[in-house]
């Protein structure tokens, strides 16, 4: 008789990132969107205006601020794609394919962001 042992679930890892991302989306994202809207309205230049070139150069060149920005983007990607994956069940799609698309996409976006930020950081300083 084969023993059916309970298998540990990997869901807590994703749920933890979902919870952290939900906090980021609720607490930090509104002000980031306000900044992006103001930047769009203000049409910043190389050194004047909100989100101008030199300001963003300083943001991405500072290791602490760059790491915080990466954390925000990373958490947002996993949060939103986790939530969208679970919403597909509500719409009647029960396929593992969406699991790979959601978490694969989130991991890909996170690695792309990390790579870009590291490239920019080491190019600058």
């Amino acid at each position: 008789m084969r023993q059916f042992l309970p298998t540990p679930s990997d869901e807590p890892i994703y749920w933890l990132m979902f919870g952290a991302g939900g906090m980021v989306a609720g607490i930090v994202l509104p002000s980031i969107l306000v900044i992006m809207i103001l930047a769009g309205l203000g049409s910043p230049d190389l050194a004047t205006g909100l989100l101008n070139f030199e300001q963003v150069k300083g943001l991405l060149g500072n290791w602490l601020l760059a790491a915080m920005l990466f954390g925000i983007v990373f958490m947002l990607c996993f949060y939103s794609l986790h939530r969208m994956y679970h919403s597909t069940h509500d719409l009647g799609f029960h396929t593992k394919l969406f699991w790979f698309m959601a978490y694969g996409g989130a991991a890909a976006l996170a690695f792309i962001t990390l790579g870009l930020q590291l490239l920019i950081y080491f190019k600058l300083f």
């Binding site: 969107l33 900044i35 150069k57 920005l69 947002l76 509500d90 029960h94």
Partner: protein, 150 residues
Amino acid sequence: MSEAKSFRKPYKRPVDKLWWLKNKFFTVYMIREGTAVTALFAALEIILGIFLFGLCNLDAETATAETAAPYLWWVQDFLGNPLVIILNLVCLAASLFHAVTWFNLMPKAVRLFMNKNSTELLPDYIVKMGLYGALAGATVVILVFAVATI
């Protein structure tokens, strides 16, 4: 993973794709889930901005309109596009709606006890007030920091 081969063939009931429009409660629920799409859009905007910043010539001694052209396109033409501004406003509204619903469910998800010797829970409004305070504080800190570092 279990090595046992599964012979399960679960019955999947056909679902009307618009079931959530028939009840107001479910409609609000689906809008709440839909705020994830706008959060992803905001993340993609930021990633696009980082990517286009990386395309700029960062070795130049002094940045000119030519060396910083990709980033200036993102910040002036992309973020300045009326459609993107409207989408960003929708994202902002969705993000605030998400914040309200998220803070409302947080006392149910995180159960904080008054002290070690009782099973009495911390009142809901204290947890919610803490989260709204965090939202207000983070917004003020980020906006002041963004304006101060221009």
